[in-house]
Amino acid sequence: MGKNDIKNELREIAPGIEKLRAGNPFQVPHNYFENLPQNIQEKIAKGKSKVSQPVFQRIGMPRFVLATIMTVLLVFAGYFAFFHSSPEIYLTESEEIFYENYLAWYSEYQPDVYYDILMANEEAADFESLIFDEDEVLDYLFDYGDYYMDYITYTENDFEN
């Protein structure tokens, strides 16, 4: 298919734009194409100096040793993720307390307080879109110190009973 065929095709489909093809309205800066090959060579040269060796070569370690170490690390990471991923409902005084733990506990054992916490976020349009700022929750809990004191004095056995 030659140029005439392309013209004829356009004449059939959309004759109104067939004649607009003439001329290129875009321009380039003066001497742009004269300098472009040199600019590209410079970019390639810069890239060459940045090319880095693979990690195992950089740290001077055979590939299979690195693979073994990575596998062991992945197994440990998987173990901890699996056994520590469920929400900490049962907390003791000695555990570090995060606001997710507060929410989980309140939703389970003090639903009315949990509801109050949710409503404290005035900007929230619905339950699912709530995004709590940790400071907000901690402020709320600070304001309701009785609940907080009750909470931290519960023991694991109290919850189970």
């Binding site: 298919m1 140029k3 392309i6 356009l10 489909i13 959309a14 004759p15 109104g16 734009i17 607009l20 093809r21 001329g23 290129n24 309205p25 875009f26 321009q27 380039v28 800066p29 742009y32 194409f33 472009l36 090959p37 600019n39 590209i40 060579q41 970019k43 390639i44 890239g47």
Partner: protein, 182 residues
């Protein structure tokens, strides 16, 4: 300027002591076609310059393994198309914009571009092209401006000739309508 054939360029690149020289000849041979293909997609000269340089850096890295199953130009055009689309996607992601807004921004760019010297009707034509979805825009540009055969386009864009004909037909109709009504 006389250009070497693709076979000669590849032979020089692979078998001479100075592959940089051969690559330089390759850039000189194809730079304008690749530049204009990208420029019509991303509009801005500086953006185009970045994408063009990236295309040739990728070509440099890949040329060693290039087996010439597809022609050199087809291969370069494919890299250029992918890089231009990637650039537009990045732009969309970076500014959290839907495609329509990216196109609107490019269209606005046409108004202020110091490197655009077209008259009102040409500006309108390019705005119409920018109103197309990105893939239709590529097909339209390749056919309308670069006069590439459907067969070659199919190889470059890795799709069927039927799909390309339909895209081009649809795009041309939409552009004609846009030019008439705006």
């Amino acid at each position: 300027m006389d250009h070497y054939s693709d076979e000669k360029l590849l032979d020089l690149f692979h078998n001479s002591d100075n592959p940089n020289y051969a690559f330089n000849l390759l850039v000189k041979k194809y730079q304008e076609k690749i530049y204009w293909h990208i420029r019509r997609l991303v509009i801005d000269h500086e953006d185009t310059n970045d994408v063009v340089q990236e295309v040739f850096v990728k070509a440099w890295k890949g040329l060693e393994h290039f087996r010439a199953d597809s022609g050199l130009f087809t291969w370069l055009y494919r890299i250029a198309t992918n890089e231009a689309l990637t650039f537009l996607k990045k732009k969309k992601r970076h500014f959290f914009l839907p495609w329509q807004d990216v196109e609107y921004a490019l269209s606005e760019k046409l108004e202020s571009d110091v490197h655009f010297s077209g008259n009102e009707i040409q500006r309108k034509l390019h705005k119409a092209i920018l109103s197309l979805p990105p893939k239709q825009r590529i097909v339209f540009n390749m056919r309308y401006f670069d006069e590439i055969k459907y067969e070659d386009m199919a190889r470059i864009l890795d799709t069927s000739e039927g799909a390309l004909k339909a895209s081009y037909h649809h795009a041309a109709k939409k552009i004609e309508e846009f030019v008439k009504t705006n």
